[in-house]
């Protein structure tokens, strides 16, 4: 592992008028590390994720990203063109609802190939071969390549969305409740797949979830949010097995045991 961080966040705050979205969040993310952000609904997880992924401009604070040339760049001092380029090459964003992240009216192959075409790939045969390869990596049968995602089940759509994001070999992936809305067995398969991919590709990821099991399985480190503040952070196993804050203790003890 590299000892320079990939992503440096300091003092990020977002206010909606008088109301707090998230307040004074700072952390570093290292290459290959998966960070989970957990908390109940309304705790500011998604606001924070959007602030980090340039989908929302924070009110205060800075977010720096180490580009491929090793230089740190402040995301909010880049031009919009650079930011958008970064988002579709070096980053991925997996939405909770696959319909937000996919083009529902074009085929699965085109969905995966879109990023390749966006960065200038102009060889149909190569694009299709790459798309086929990625579909099999996310366990979608390759004879479905010309079907539209509309014809896919929820789990398949989510896997397709992941393939679409990973095809350009990003170094950082943001995930917003990647398993939300899926049934338990499909969730388990998806988590397994994501864990495998993250390991194989050495990805860094920031995963927002309200599901502590997801955090346990995927993440190395986690942050617990409440009312816009990060109230506790540390190694996932430490936080889940030995929660210090009363709220975290409450969260952990609220998990249903079967």
């Amino acid at each position: 592992m590299n000892d320079t961080p990939l992503f440096k966040v300091s003092g990020v705050s977002k206010f909606y008028g008088q109301r707090i979205g998230c307040k004074d969040v700072s952390f570093d993310l290292w290459p290959g590390e998966v960070l989970a952000i957990v908390g109940e609904s309304g705790s500011g997880k998604t606001t924070l994720l959007n602030c980090l992924s340039t989908r929302l401009t924070p009110t205060a604070g800075s977010v720096e990203y180490r580009m491929r040339d090793g230089q740190f760049r402040d995301l909010y001092h880049m031009s919009e063109a650079e930011r958008r380029f970064l988002m579709r090459t070096d980053w991925g964003f997996v939405h909770q609802n696959p319909a937000d992240g996919l083009r529902m009216t074009v085929s699965a192959g085109a969905n995966v190939g879109e990023r390749l075409m966006a960065i200038g790939d102009r060889h149909y045969g190569n694009i299709r071969a790459t798309a086929t390869d990625w579909l099999s990596r996310v366990e979608i049968s390759t004879d479905r390549i010309d079907d539209q995602p509309r014809a896919f089940s929820g789990g398949m759509r989510q896997r397709l969305q992941i393939a679409r994001n990973l095809v350009t070999g990003p170094r950082l992936v943001f995930m917003d409740e990647p398993t939300g809305g899926l049934d338990v067995s499909v969730q388990a398969r998806l988590l397994d797949l994501v864990r495998g991919l993250v390991n194989d590709l050495g990805l860094s990821a920031i995963v927002v979830t309200h599901d502590l099991a997801v955090a346990r399985l995927l993440s190395h480190r986690m942050m617990v949010m409440k009312d816009g503040y990060v109230i506790e952070q540390g190694l996932t196993d430490r936080v889940l097995d030995d929660p210090r804050e009363p709220y975290t203790q409450l969260l952990v003890s609220s998990i249903l045991q079967v």
Binding site: E114, R115, I119, R122, Y124, G125, R128, D146
Partner: protein
């Protein structure tokens, strides 16, 4: 002409023409860029060429010679009525001969005869945004044009190949103008795309309902988008024109009866007539010619 006293020359008032000319100048300065303009109500329904008519009205002068074509033909309703409109409101000379015209307003064809310097081709455009059916948000498509993010255009071509084995888009085939803006050449058949490239004539595009004007100045590079392994191709016709025996021109299929009888004839009527005057005759005319002799 007393009943027309209330009309200004070429129907539009001078301030409106100035506004449209400004938009045209801007469009010429930025080839392929869609310039918004305050499109006016015209005495015809949207979809009948209100954009093209406004552009023509803004650039036409008393000395101009106007030709209007609809799918290549000079004698269809749309062409006849627009031609009559300008005869009435601008009292200009009109022609059907491509070479004689200074302004050619067209709905979806480029004349077969090569256009020359000094001529202006005005297109009637229904939907100016090439990305429209892929990305419905106007705010987003403008951003994509601004940042030159045209990957999506290839997604459409990819879909074509995935479904049909080849690029099946046959009209409104997207082009890149002067290496920068991706442009919809209006629903002209892709057969005409190569004619836009390095054309000596000025090409103006007016979309009345969508309130956009764009342009391709003379001698500008116009490249049709494609894939390396699926290069751009134009339509080819096996037949010759049944009337003038022309080959390598764009042909229309005409159904003759309900027993499967059909012929292919030139879409460009002026070119076809001209060839027949010069003694070319296709299979349809040949027997009657012999009978006459």
């Amino acid at each position: 002409m007393t009943e027309l006293a209330s009309y200004n020359f070429a129907y539009l008032d001078e301030q409106t023409k100035r506004m449209i000319r400004r938009a045209i100048l801007k469009a010429i300065a930025i080839p392929g860029y869609q310039v918004p303009f305050a499109s006016r109500e015209m005495p015809m329904p949207y979809g009948w060429g209100t954009g093209g008519v406004q552009v023509t009205a803004a650039i036409i002068g008393p000395d101009d010679v106007l030709k209007v074509i609809d799918q290549g033909a000079d004698d269809t309703t749309n062409a006849v009525s627009i031609r009559a409109f300008f005869q009435k409101v601008a009292d200009v000379a009109v022609t059907t001969h491509t070479a004689d015209a200074t302004i050619i307003q067209t709905r979806h064809r480029i004349p077969e005869q090569k256009l020359s310097e000094g001529q202006v081709l005005v297109y009637q455009v229904p939907i100016p945004e090439p990305l429209r059916f892929l990305e419905p948000r106007e705010t987003e498509t403008r951003k994509m044009h601004a940042l030159e993010e045209y990957g999506l255009m290839h997604v459409k071509l990819y879909e074509d190949i995935a479904r049909h084995g080849r690029i099946s888009t046959t009209y409104a085939y997207p082009v890149k103008v002067a290496g920068r803006y991706v442009m919809d050449p209006s629903p002209t058949p892709k057969f005409d795309n190569p004619k836009m490239h390095m054309s000596e004539a000025l090409q103006l595009f007016g979309a009345g309902r969508e309130k956009r004007i764009y342009a391709v100045p003379p001698h500008t590079e116009v490249v049709s988008l494609d894939f390396e392994d699926h290069p751009f191709e134009i339509q080819r016709f096996e037949q010759n024109c049944a009337l003038c025996a022309a080959h390598g021109v764009y042909l229309d299929e005409v159904v003759l009866d309900d027993k499967g009888g059909r012929i292919f004839v030139c879409s460009d009527t002026d070119n076809c007539e001209d060839r027949r005057e010069h003694g070319h005759s296709g299979e349809m005319l040949a027997p009657s010619k012999e009978a006459a002799e």
